[in-house]
Each structure stands twice: as C-alpha cells, then as structure tokens.
Subunit: 125 residues, 2 copies
DNA sequence: ATAGAATTTGCAACTTAATTGCAAATTTGA
DNA sequence: TCAAATTTGCAATTAAGTTGCAAATTCTAT
C-alpha cells in the first residue's frame, strides 16, 4: 500500500484508498461511500492540504481527484472528452518535454498542467 | 481590425472588441460595458459557439475569454497565479513542442491546453 | 471499561458562476 | 413606417462547493 495512505483514518482513509485506484469526482465518491457531500468535500479539502491527493478540473468546473504520489502516480497529462467530460489519465511527460515547456513561462513555475481535449473512444461509437 | 470582428453587432461586437485587446472574465466585461450579466453570458456563449472567442478557466472555475484568431492571437499557454488567480497569456508553443506533446494522447486531439501555475510578479512583492 | 476531550459528521443554509423563461425593448428590413 | 425578428433586463433557477452548529463518533488517559 502507498505510504500516502498511512496515518489516515475514517473517511479520509476511505476516500484516499478509492482515489489510489482511480480518478473520481466528489459525486462519484459520494456514490461509493455513503456520507454527506459536506463530509466528502471537507475530507477532499483536508487531503488536498496534506498533498495526499491532487485536483483536476474539467471544463464544466467539476473537480476530479487522484492520489498525489510521485512513485505510484506521477503528475501526468489528462485527456478530457468534449462530449462526456470524462477525464482520462495519460502517461507522464518525460523530463525533456517538461523542460521544453517550462521555457515558455516568464514566472517561476510551481506546477505544469497539460490537458488534451477531443472525443473519447466511448463517445465515438 | 481583425476579421473575427466583422459582421458582429450590438453587445456581441462590444465584447469581442474588448477581448481582442485583453483576456477578461465575465465580471470584468460587465464592469466595462454596463449590461445585465445574463446579456454578458448569452453573448459570450454565442461568441464561443461561433468560435470568435475562446475560454480559459482558472482554478476557481471562473471563465476568462480572449479573441480566438489564429493570426492575431494563436492558441498559447497560460500562467495562473495561485495567489490572485489572474491569468497571464504567454507566447505560443512552436510546432515541435506541440508535436512532442500530442504523442502523449491515445485519442485524437482537438485542442491542447497548457497551464503553468505559480506566483506572479505582482503577488511576489 | 469509562468518562471527558477532541475530532468528525449530518443537516440545512449559504455562496458564486452560470443558465433560463418570459415579457419588454430594441433592431431590422420590406 | 410598421410588423417580424432579435436582443435585453429581470428574477428565478441550477450546480459545485462551503460553512455554522449541534449531534455523533473516536481518541486518550485513568
Ligand atoms: Mn490523472
Ligand atoms: Mn491567452
Ligand atoms: Zn467521452
Ligand atoms: Zn498574482
């Protein structure tokens, strides 16, 4: 089990465990563990502050969450389907490509987000 | 004047003209031209549908808009300040870097979004 | 095991960006 | 100039996310 899940208890643990398997929205999490949405959002906020999970927003402003672990889940680009707005996780950029991108910023970079948009295979059928 | 502004009238024209100068949010637009927010949002939606403007969302889910013209304003990466959430427009990626990025997607790409996050010069002071 | 303290939860009200129905106002064009 | 078409303002609504507060749960020390 990923170290990020150590020392977590109650719903914070349940949520982090689910997110270690798959990127999920708050609503999807709520359908999996039966608790109030306030509890879901509070736990998400705590996990974000502890940097145990990270957030990816889709074009509708809906947050999706995944485990934030360099080893088990390094930061990577995402693909968003413009039909169903599902978020797909892609393989991480190699260091040369990250370097090439970072040259475009005149300010010091804390984080790089790359998102592709198009129509996913499910929605093409 | 950019061709994208031709054949536009009323508030659609006013909004597109302002956005041809500078990226702005709906609220910022409303402070510049004195109309109801419903009018602002309806015109924004029409301009997006006509592909005259494009939308960039900040991490708070607030939409920012800019002229969508290959010649006058090619698609480019953005920098978002994690303190003030202001969006800065950066210079466009060159074609080699776009090509390198597009290799990461297993699905056909309609659009690539690159966003850097960090602290802007204003907020560093 | 038990009691008190600390943490977590559910509920309901709230915030904010964005959307929508509808009637009034404005614009268009024959 | 006048009727039709488009655009607008207003108010109500939607949806994601937040917050205050009291009740429930969990933790810790005896
Ligand atoms: Mn991912
Ligand atoms: Mn821009
Ligand atoms: Zn899809
Ligand atoms: Zn700033």
């Amino acid at each position: 089990m990923c170290d990020k899940l150590k020392n977590l208890k109650n719903n914070e643990f349940k949520i982090a465990l689910l997110l270690s398997q798959k990127i999920l929205s708050a609503k999807e999490l709520q359908n999996l563990i039966n608790v109030d949405k306030a509890t879901i959002y509070r736990n998400i906020k705590n996990l974000l502050k502890k940097e145990i999970i990270r957030e990816i927003k889709n074009s509708n402003g809906v947050g999706f969450y995944e485990l934030n672990c360099k080893i088990h889940n390094p930061i990577h680009p995402h693909f968003e389907c413009i039909i169903c707005n599902k978020i797909y996780c892609l393989k991480a950029l190699n260091s040369e490509d990250v370097l090439a991108l970072s040259n475009y910023s005149p300010f010091e970079i804390k984080e790089i987000e790359v998102k592709f948009k198009g129509i996913c295979n499910e929605c093409k059928k």
